[in-house]
Amino acid sequence: MSSARILLVEDNPVDQSIVTAALTKYQVTKAGTVADANTALARELFDLVILDINLPDGNGFEFLKELKSLARLRQLPIVFLTNLSEVPARVQGLNLGAQDYICKPVDPSELCARVDARLRLGGRAVGGEIFLKGDLQFNLGMRQLFIVSGSEPPRQINLTTLEFNVLFHLAHHFDVPLSREQLLEAAWSQKDEVSDRSVDSLISGLRKKISSSQYQIKAVYGSGYRLERRATSSRPETPANKGSQN
């Protein structure tokens, strides 16, 4: 099973069952209402949301607007799955920022292919291999990080598994502040044994290790940490980036 997490916001039990059966390779969390979806999004991080439009307590278009207005969730890919098949509805959904629009009745193999494609475009390697964020190249299978700069050969950065997990999580949610709790949740299997200070200490080490990258980890007051693009002038000159523009 892939580690990608999908939130399915769908109230129809038949369609819920079909989608769940089609996407067994992913971890699918079901929500039958907008309220349930909000609860799930507050509790967990997801890689993609599959969203119906007519829901018992709300409208998928409005819900998408709400999600896009939240910095934490702005980049979360949304795929509409609906039986509103008319062109104006499709156009509206895509114009609002949905990554795809799939009409019911759904063909399971098509749904699976489209979800695979969306997750790949979002940066996740569905097959579990390579994830690229700018000059940061994550080899997910080997849990290795490389910094790739111009024509230079990729340079491996030695990271512990925990450091790799935290950095990958930050890269996967690029520019979005993640709380210490979210990082603990994502990186530590035994999170009872660690504290917020463990996160701070790990981040401090990570900052040094990726100091030659285009990206840096920034503390966000009251929120946690985010990975962001480093201002060109503040990037320390190294043999790897000397003379490059970024």
Binding site: N12, V14, I18, A21
Partner: protein, 118 residues
């Protein structure tokens, strides 16, 4: 009444040793659809247009997913009546047709299931 060709789409999802997916989907439909039909009938009786549109839309989706296309079409008619706030004699007649079609679909689907245990 039921276009079973749509069920072929699910054959690739069937895993060996796992419960039959078509049977599971039929059971999910049977467990949830009666409630939707009743809500449609109640909405018609109470002239509650919003409720009619919502429940007809919901049943339409389930019916279409299972290939019960005539049932889905009747749902669409009622959904439109609800959206247009037109719960008139035509809508009442469509609701009666819907009940008849639903019962027929249900009988067909039950036949697909293995004989009741016990």
């Amino acid at each position: 009444m039921i276009d079973r060709t749509i069920w072929e789409r699910w054959s690739s999802l069937q895993q060996e040793g796992e419960p039959n997916l078509v049977h599971q989907l039929i059971e999910v439909f049977l467990a949830s659809s009666e409630g939707s039909v009743q809500e449609i009938e109640k909405s018609i009786a109470a002239k509650y247009a919003k409720g009619l549109a919502f429940h007809a839309h919901s049943l339409k989706s389930s019916a279409a997913s299972l290939g019960a296309n005539q049932l889905a079409e009747l749902c669409l008619k009622l959904e439109k009546a609800g959206r247009d706030n037109q719960i008139d004699q035509a809508a009442e007649s469509s609701a009666r047709e819907l009940r008849t079609e639903y019962e027929a679909v249900k009988r067909e689907l039950v036949k697909e299931l293995p004989a009741q245990r016990g």
